[in-house]
Symmetry: C2
Subunit: 421 residues, 2 copies
């Protein structure tokens, strides 16, 4: 694999550059991006561009569909939504032509993205980017529509929100690119959301596994699925701003700086939070095999992505099962469970808690240092914040708390672990 | 950093080779190891050896101490235990001399291992291996006592069971070694324990994060702490057998083979299990801030390494908190909690469940593929195995079940995810 070492800038490189919706929101923004690409080309770099739909275009298209039907056909929805990126790639090519840069637009299908047939949330199966390679070989900048593909059933598919990140990372892997640059409206990955914690610091580097746990627990950018692909294939990533153009955060294998990686001491990197989830609890279930299988298979089949699961057996021999899920899937989940699942497991659904929040710390060396969890719990207690659910991994601790207290919790935990600048 | 690419063998390399207790159990075994080192030297490789105490020596020393006192002084215990490796390194040097290989023995202190003062479970703070480097520069094989160091208070310290692995990995990092080879009595890392699942396969490669989650959930070798160090510093590892000498499992950044890393599909690598833990439940705790902090700080201060934590609020406004911990820490944990902690949080400790088992699946792409958890739960249910607790991370799902059913569970889950050879 042709690849730079991440931290060093390769003189002449193949770059995949993704520009999100706000970066290409209007013709002026597009001209700015085109000027940037022209500079990269002048330096001698090869560039493949991945572009999202302009600004709020995707929202507008969804809104229009909702005015026609409340139960749109999946195939037609994807045909509709993907029109947004189609507009963006053609306009971006025109902007590039104005800068004297040769450029060709490609839909997801033309770029060779084969996906499954799960409309509005399609997963990439494989990429055959021969047209993109041809374009690059001819010195023509390929401009690829983000978040699209063509299904095994030959229908146009949409990868879902944040799908342009996934397109860019997967394409960078398929092209053996030297670097995948995700240009966005933040200047990198921070030790906490700077809107919540003004003293949060931008991280120069972050490891793939830490970024994976961060995005899995609420860090909004880059999109979770793109980070899974980058993590699994070790695609060199640079998360940076399309507004300030300053260097952002490089995603690396390991820290080069010894201060960032003490031999056996735990090092907390970041505090993340998420208020986009709700909590459902099924009570009074008999404590016997099959309950979890029935419950979570029905939710998986309905496409509900359950996050945390807590199950504990009560003294009376019944079990309560609580789990968190995206609030946007709450109605679908309730319908699924009420549609025969609850009666099958003899359970009762209590009123959903739609105001739960989750705060997490991510870092290395937690597993053999029990004090990290204790410090987190104490910090929350000292600030009168009650813990509802707890979940841990080798490099993460998460607590579900009241959504109203999430910002406060993030601030105190950020301070407690010495992350304030 | 001087470093091979993991999968390729560097012609002339600096190797750190660790030999565990069974590999050096008697003079014949030591001769076999010395012959192996002689061959490596003849090939031109530089070798630093890390050696554990012979066979059951550490157990014998602990047993002797227990006949004298039930409350030994920590400093004296470490002085005693470290005598085991002192014997092993000097005998190993004599065996090397017999093969015509120049060799010098070094205690942990002489090798420059500075640790904290936590006797019997000391953590490495830093390593200043200048004597080891001198030895290597002179062509003399340094033979280093595993699992030892000297504390900031200038006392001899023991790193704990499995500490030789940590010594080897940390030394390999400090020396910038090309490869750290952990020679043991198994031939590598398997998709499940081959004693439980005869159709488990040896893995040619495993990623650092997958190995971290595997050892965190019960894969006994290499030792958890050594894997944390290897993971954080990306120390190239080779887990292999000192009995068959065949190539073992290489620990890598990412899979080179596309079949092992489909673009967005989940790939389950391994099923792990653990029956070394017990479960404690504190019931009737008021649902208010501070409970978890008080509880887990007291356990952390007592050196109890809590694993899974489940907390859920009951209908009557009280909370039950269940957690798992190493069974060997069970008495210490109960004493700690009974010593004022329970009254402080108004909780009651129910009888411990000392027969819990944990079964986990480890792999990539689980977070965005809800079907993985459902398949695991269903497989357990289909085999009439009840789930007691559940915990998930971005690359792992763990279920606490009856210890008696663990082997059966591992077999069925291994089959369900298509891991049988």
């Amino acid at each position: 694999m042709r690849r730079g070492r991440g931290a060093t800038v390769v003189c002449v490189a193949l770059l995949v550059q993704k520009f999100g919706g706000t970066s290409v929101a209007d013709p002026d923004r597009m001209r700015t991006v085109a000027e940037h690409v022209a500079r990269c080309r002048k330096r001698g770099d090869d560039v493949a561009l991945v572009v999202s739909a302009m600004g709020k275009e995707t929202d507008d298209l969804l809104h229009m569909a909702s005015k026609i039907t409340s139960e749109p056909d999946g195939r037609e929805m994807d045909m509709l939504i993907t029109a947004g990126e189609r507009k963006a790639i053609s306009l971006m090519c025109m902007a590039l032509h104005q800068q004297g840069v040769e450029a060709h637009s490609y839909t997801g299908s033309q770029a060779g993205f084969l996906t499954d047939a799960n409309h509005q949330n399609a997963k990439i199966l494989e990429i055959n980017p021969y047209r993109i390679k041809e374009s690059l070989a001819q010195g023509i900048v390929p401009v690829i529509a983000g978040a699209q593909g063509v299904s095994t059933e030959k229908n146009v598919t949409f990868l879902g929100r944040g799908g342009s990140d996934t397109t860019a990372v997967a394409l960078a892997h398929a092209l053996d690119a030297d670097l995948c640059e995700l240009f966005t409206d933040v200047s990198g990955v921070f030790s906490a959301d700077p809107r919540i914690v003004p003293r949060a610091g931008k991280m120069e580097t972050i490891t793939f596994d830490e970024l994976l746990e961060m995005t899995a627990t609420g860090c909004p950018k880059p999109a979770m699925r793109s980070v899974e692909v980058a993590h699994n294939h070790r695609v060199p990533l640079h998360v940076r701003s399309a507004f300030t153009w300053e260097p952002g955060t490089l995603v690396v294998e390991r820290y080069e700086n010894e201060e960032e990686s003490a031999m056996e001491q735990p090092i907390i990197r970041a505090v993340t939070s998420d208020v986009s989830e709700s909590k459902l609890t099924v009570v009074g279930v008999p404590d016997q095999p099959g309950v979890s299988g029935t419950l979570f298979r029905s939710l998986a089949d309905a496409g509900v992505n359950v996050d945390m699961i807590v199950q504990n057996v009560a003294a009376d021999g019944t079990t309560d099962i609580s789990f968190t899920l995206p609030t946007e899937d709450l109605v679908k989940a309730q319908e699924t469970l009420n549609n025969g699942v609850l009666s099958a497991i003899s359970g009762t659904l209590v009123a959903p808690e739609s105001s739960v929040g989750k705060v997490s710390v991510v870092g290395a060396g937690m597993k053999s240092n029990p004090g990290v969890a204790a410090t987190m719990f104490e910090t929350l207690a000292d600030n009168n914040i009650n813990i509802d659910m707890i979940s841990t991994s080798a490099i993460r601790i998460s607590c579900v708390i009241d959504a109203d207290k999430v910002d406060e919790a993030v601030q105190h935990v950020h301070t407690a672990f010495g992350l304030d600048r």
